[in-house]
Amino acid sequence: MDNVTYLANIDHPVQLGVMIAIYFFYTGLSAGAFVLSSLGTVFGIKKYKSIAKAGVVMAIALLAIAPLHLIGDLEQPQRFYTLFYRLNPHSAISYGTFLLTLYPLNSVIYLWFMMRRDFAQGAVTLTGFRQKLYRFLTFGNGDLSEQALAKDDLWIKRLGTLGVPLALLVHGYTGFILANIQARALWHTGLMPLIFLMSAMVSGTGLLILVLILTERFLSPEKMLTPERKALILDIGQLMKWFIVVDGTLMVIDFIVLYYSNAAGYAAAEVLLHGSHQTMFLGVELGLGLLLPFVLTLLSKTKKSLGWISLGSFCTLIGVIAMRVNFVIGGQQLPLSTDTLNPYTAAPEHLLMIGIFALAEIVILYLAFRFLPVYGLPKNPTASPQNFKAGHEVM
């Protein structure tokens, strides 16, 4: 009947809020960056080899911060460690606990093998703080013989090959966290892990482009964007275009099926497309976050401009944050027993934590790119030229 009035009921505020949405954003960035880094080392596409280290450094730095959001969101944060031994094989979170541990560990070892040669060379050729740091980071293995380097390459390949499924799982599981919940119509679709993976690739590529531009310009030994570097960044921009296409397609498929779904699914689609979330969904998530970057990476004029590509990359980040918020919070705002959207107000302490974590993330990224040989060893006028023949100087 149409003339139904709700007289008495109680509010059911949204429980998984902005901390969880931002956590999904971080893991997505991490997984995306890792997969891009593996293009050179695992899939053997040579031109991407020069960004492999940057991608992994990003992946690790992001995943170092991401779980803090989860712990910060707990009502009993001091009990978080019980996740490691009070396991529930039916809960996606239980799997996530181990993925979130294994994946960064694997990435750190993978990165070490990629940087061992630089550490070993740096321990000999550099001076001062960096020399001490690099000597320590060789962990006593300063062997620069052909066999040792070949062994490094083998391990890079092995750990990278393990890292790709781990990265996909680490982000895929976040999709399952939502998809396994039948109660929430917007979440409960087999597409959810794929949607999360593709938006991870979009935002991961977006952030990688921005980080590459900034760090190559200011923190690499050359302190400039060489033509090769610029070409590679624009090339990654073209990769991003295709990720956007797949991500957008998945979203369209999801919404078509939602419209043919039950009452709750239909309502979910309506709320995002025509209802209160229209601006956030159509405007920010799709328009600003997918369509604009797509156009910028498509048009022949803008796709060759670092400025426009940076803008597009930045927009993908905004768009994917909006996507996480729309799906995580929006999915819970759809009522289960009331006639209005479930209320949500972001707790001030959560916003504060997100701000602090974001600052910490920037500091970690800065320190990593400043002090690790992501782009090879710093120029050292006293060092003899043959120390640089490894090729890191020319990318």
Binding site: M1, D2, N3, V4, T5, Y6, L7, A8, N9, I10, H12, Q15, L16, L70, D73, L74, E75, Q76, P77, R79, F80, T82, L83, R86, L87, N88, H90, S91, I93, S94, T97, I177, N180, I181, Q182, A183, R184, N262, A263, A264, Y266, A267, E270, V271, H274, G275, S276, Q278, Q332, L334, P335, L336, S337, T338, D339, T340, L341
Partner: protein
Amino acid sequence: MAEAEKKKRYAMVVDLRKCVGCNACTVSCKIENQVPEGEYRTWVKEIEKGTYPEVTRYRLPRLCNHCDNAPCLAACPVKATYRADDGTILIDYDHCIGCKYCMAACPYDARFVNPIRKTAEKCTFCYHRVQAGLLPACVTTCVGGARVFGDLNDPQSLVAKLIANNSVQVLKPEMNTKPMVYYIGADRDIMGARYTNLEKGVK
């Protein structure tokens, strides 16, 4: 066989023909379980349907369904949510980490965060009272006798008889949660959510 007979499965039948919407259950539950202000383990949802003079009010006392196939049980990553021997779904407050995933998983809005204890919380079928041989507080206090509590596995129990001899409904049966709170005479417009306002694009 003897073992199976001994095994209890507690359930509740809410006979809505007898519910007057007085909210005595809501109050007694809050007192019995010391539920903090603003939170409810049980509450009475009420709607008005029709156009004057053809208009009727419908009520629906709500509580945890203690589902046989409970999504919250599957969701809890630290097994703080567990099932007692009598089928009741309980929360181990000493182990709940407060991740709130169970609240996202419950299709019935039954759970909330206790702002004082900082854990998930919900109706326990007054487990502490039932263990002591008493009825849940809401059942004891129900003025119309609408709430009936008992062992579903005992064919002579009132709940088993009511379920056998009446058309009963459960909330959201399509979710396959197998709820253990049965309703007699529940109106379809009150049993779930109402999306009409949202679909019209009401902001």
